[in-house]
Symmetry: C2
Subunit: 656 residues, 2 copies
């Protein structure tokens, strides 16, 4: 048995890796004409279609604007000197066609005129003209020739990116076509034996992955002004990978990106192909995710290998590929706004690697709060759920909880005031709420972090959320939530707003093949259970039912296996990884599973009093009152809306 593996070249810090590629290209672009011609050059583009394009060279006006002295107001053109005798109470008569001429805004001034009197300031005179009672001063209400643009003057310097308003200046200056840099042509080559081409609209079987990275990178490249060609996925065969590279270069690609072409796995041939067809500059960057990134120069052009995991591939594109594309496109690097956010939890990190962490961000009271998202490089939803990304420097071993850190926003800073942060227990109704809030005239984005009901109380205490979802059963009273808030957050001034009454039970396969009737069946019948994480209200409920049935955790096979959402529990049952798990009816129904009801519980939103009048909370309060929302909620199944939108007080019982 032998393991052929690629070994990383020296892993480079990101700035060094980027500089290496930029330097190599700068050398080449300054070099001989035959090499330079491989990079984007000049082309002409109609001015009105040039928005977003970058000027290849300075553009100077061909015509002046206005082309002659012109009226700036509707009224009468005059020679100012003819009006100097006019006084209030001593009207001066001007004769149409002799000493005054009717003009509309924009019309040229008749010869010898040097002023315009506004129509509002003249009186019609019976003697065949108009009379004025004040003198005009020279050049009043006149747009003078070249006032806006003088022929031959510089309109825009080279490398200026054309904006909509620039089209006006170009056309006014008589520029019909502008010399612009060609848009870089980027070829993206997805690779891998196991990947399914999304164009086939496949039904992903066991172990197959729908290839999507190439489309994400394609969209990102287009946003940088590139033309993108994506080829069909190429299997892990050296000859075919090599052919795809050479074909792309022959087709005039200015840059080539292999997707999933840099893993150190045994099927990876990209590196050796780039080595034989060009010069490898970077193999491995000191960054997580994104470490197995690859950069080379082949036939004068940059070729990249982006890692296979979606988040790695994205970081590789943003940090390594983007600066190179911007060089080819002659554009400045995208300038994303940065803000300071308070981290809701600590982030350990590996020394020696720069780490990029995606954050959900919102403004909670006076501060901006950053919730670190799942750091798995395989999860694209880590990126889609984020509003910002932060970096942990290579020389840090982590960042402490509550730290203030700089984060680079992917949304305008003002949008953060529209993000409603909900930290706590997970419930599908939150997705419904998220959808409805986005339908409001002033839309709000619900960001929910699922950390369990107890995690929600902790978040309230730290002031890092606008509301927390919870369903914590008080075993003694049968009430919900109050006792826990009193115990763990006694100083808190909280309003409890009911979201819904919901049914919890055991999620079992369709048809309930093992005939599960309740928790008592979990002992001694060979049933494999899937549990929820500690601090989850559902875990507390399960433990209570366990005790009531006289069972101990050790009696339950799978008690130690934890998932953190109802849906994840249901998926375990769906795939046969477990025989049952506790969860809400909606999760069972969504996956076509069966459900053994055990209890009804109150799911409340705990809102700090200080946010009670916040526009985001007001939107939630209003929403929960609407019949339309309640109808959608009932429709999910497993919910009751009898208390929905009402403020809870201790002692409200559900009844059985």
């Amino acid at each position: 048995m032998s393991f052929k593996r690629n070994v990383y070249l020296k892993i480079l810090p990101l700035p060094e890796a980027v500089a290496k590629v930029l330097d190599a290209l700068a050398d080449r672009s300054a070099g001989q004409d035959d090499v330079r011609s491989l990079l984007p050059g000049r082309e002409f583009c109609p001015a009105q279609e040039a928005v977003g394009r970058v000027l290849h060279e300075a553009v100077h006006a061909r015509y002046s604007s206005p082309t002659c002295h012109a009226a700036a107001m509707d009224g009468f053109a005059v020679r100012a000197a003819d009006t100097f005798a006019a006084r209030e109470g001593e009207p001066l008569l001007l004769r149409e066609g002799e000493t005054c001429f009717a003009v509309n805004t924009g019309q040229p001034l008749p010869a010898n005129c040097d002023a315009v009197i506004m129509i509002e300031h003249v009186a019609v005179d019976g003697r065949g003209g108009v009379s004025v009672e004040a003198p005009a001063f020279p050049w009043q209400h006149v747009r003078r020739i070249g006032e806006d643009i003088v022929a031959t003057e510089l309109l825009f310097p080279r490398n200026h990116q054309i904006r909509p308003c620039d089209v006006g200046a170009l056309l006014s200056g008589g520029i019909w076509e502008v010399p612009v840099w060609e848009q870089p042509l980027v070829r993206i080559i997805p690779t891998g034996d196991e990947v399914l081409d999304f164009e086939q609209r496949p039904d992903p079987g066991r172990g197959q992955v729908v290839e999507s990275n190439s489309q994400v990178l394609a969209a990102m490249a287009r946003e940088l002004g590139c033309r993108v060609e994506r080829v069909k996925p190429v299997p892990d065969q050296p000859d075919r990978l090599r052919a795809a590279l050479l074909d792309s270069l022959d087709a005039g690609a200015h840059a080539v990106i292999f997707c999933a072409g840099s893993s150190a796995g045994s099927k990876d041939y990209t590196r050796s192909i780039l080595e034989s067809e060009g010069e490898i500059l970077v193999h491995g960057i000191a960054a997580m995710p994104g470490k197995p990134s690859l950069a080379a120069i082949c036939r004068g052009r940059p070729v990249f290998g982006a890692p296979g995991y979606p988040v790695s591939s994205l970081i590789c594109f943003e940090e390594l590929i983007t600066p190179v594309i911007c060089l080819l496109a002659h554009r400045p690097l995208p300038a994303r706004p940065e803000i300071e956010v308070e981290l809701t939890r600590s982030l350990p990190s590996r020394l020696g690697l720069e780490e990029f962490v995606h954050l959900a961000v919102g403004r909670v009271g006076e501060k901006a709060v950053g919730i670190p998202l799942n750091r798995g490089a395989g999860n694209i939803t880590t990126v889609t759920r984020a509003q910002a990304v932060m970096r942990i420097p290579a020389e840090a071993e982590g960042i402490a909880e509550d730290s203030l850190v700089r984060a680079r926003l992917s949304v305008p800073p003002a949008r953060l005031y529209d993000n409603l942060i909900c930290v706590g227990s997970h419930d599908n109704v939150l997705d419904l709420l998220a959808d409805e809030l986005m339908g409001l005239p002033r839309a709000f984005r619900l960001i929910s972090a699922h950390v369990g009901s107890m995690g929600g109380i902790a978040a309230l205490k730290k002031g890092v959320c606008h509301m927390a979802g919870m369903h914590l059963l008080e075993e003694d009273s049968g009430d919900f939530n109050f006792a826990f808030l009193r115990k763990f957050y006694p100083e808190g001034r909280i309003v409890l707003l009911n979201l819904a009454i919901r049914r919890q039970g055991l999620i079992v396969p369709a048809g309930n093949p093992k005939g599960v009737r309740g928790v008592e069946d979990l002992k001694g019948k060979g049933l494999r259970y899937i549990n929820r994480q500690r601090g989850a209200g559902t875990r507390i409920l399960f433990d209570w039912h366990l005790r009531r049935a006289g069972l101990k955790p050790a009696d339950v096979d799978g008690y130690a296996k934890e998932e953190s959402t109802h849906m994840a529990v249901a998926v375990n049952v769906l795939t046969g990884a477990a025989d049952c798990g506790m969860g809400i009816y909606a999760a069972a129904r969504a996956l076509g599973l069966d459900f053994v009801p055990l209890a009804r519980e109150r799911y409340d939103l705990a809102v700090p009093e200080r946010f009670w009048e916040d526009p985001r909370i007001l939107a939630v309060r209003d929403m929960l009152q609407t019949e339309a929302f309640k109808a959608r909620l009932e429709n999910l199944g497993g919910y009751e809306t009898g208390l929905t939108g009402q403020i809870m007080h201790p002692g409200v019982r559900l009844g059985e």
Copy 2:
């Protein structure tokens, strides 16, 4: 004689005007189906082409991702329990195909396996397998089913705008087509008898204007996600204007914009057409520029009349039309960053009208500086030169110099650090410098405000510029600039860097038909002169030559007519508005005029010592050293580069 004029309806404050149109549309969109169907509805778009599109409804995942438990690392899949006996120094043998299975990242885990051991952590064992020296814990290096996406879960709520990363989540979740809002179809109708269609690539004659507003608005509408159709300019004839409107509505336009359709001029028929074909909601907004804006509802859809002046038309679009388009497109309003800037001069304003003022903005030392640009609504370059816009509230009569004001940026805030602010005398070499600075690997944008040499000294004193261009002749010594800086800014610590030696003289028509030889000809020969503004170095130079020739200002016809740039002076000569004016050779040459040389002068850049090492100034210092720059400068004609890039000291004489 009669003056038929449209009279404004009640002029509305902007927020009221916007609300009126939004309310009218909201009523209609909630109304009967036949009316609602006139506004954008639902269509389907392939996921990979959906970037920028807005979801019509919530999208839920069809597949989980991963679809099964999968290896997260290259290595060997095992059942964790099988490895619990492994200890350091006591290697445990795992047999390939029995207790361990080689897997690459992304591959499905074989049945019964629940962990992966990284390939780096095994040793090849001669007995037909691998050995490990540490136990694996359950689920290590495994991506569990649904870890990223669980089938049926909410991927994105309604009205979410798709970003590149979202394409990855959509494809991973098995969503090949997404339900999105139709892009609003906007028809833009340019109007006016005098406008030239840019598509004809016209040579604008006297009094004719190349129509460009429609293209600016079209580009702005496209940036808001609209499809845009522009029709050919329609002359000011009621029947043809009406036909253009009805044709647009019949063609399914969701919104219609008339360009230059709201002036109160006698040729304006737009209002009466809208009145007869629909209901006018807004005629006149309490804003400058943009006052004569018009909004109506015709056949269930919004129709606008945008003013004819380019800046008015743009403000009308941004402030009145944009909120309506965003409603139709179901997008949030564009969120532009705002910053606080220090105004370089006072801004008077009319009470009762909200005023929008465009600013050139840059970071000068610790502060952001805002230079108010020309407020003529007719000048598109006011917008193209701006990086920000500020508003003066209707209830203010103006803003004092040095005030701190909020300004809405049209560039990312970080870009302001790349803006080099030069305030002072105007010279064409600054355009050359602007072009070259944009060609640097780190590009800088030169923003120059032309206020004359003395204005430059004032700007230095106030700390609102990085450098000031000046060429102030010291009459006694023949030196330049030092005496003026000493007198007007004695406390200033300034470095004078020579930009060029340049030739000044009298600009005369080609062939010098009146045989001008020098300033002495300006008396008694019927020559009409065009002067520069007070404070301009050229004005000081002219006055000195006048005195030397024994003349007085009163001897010069046109002494009181002022222009503020060399090019503007040259244009006056070119068009016959004046017979001669003082200026630089480059301006004469650019317009093909003749030039009567009078003097050589030093044009210096005055740089505060504290900015001497600023990256922007360093770039200028380096640039002025290059032979390439000097060659381009010499090529302009009328310049010498003997001192270019050198630090000036008192007593440097030019020689004659």
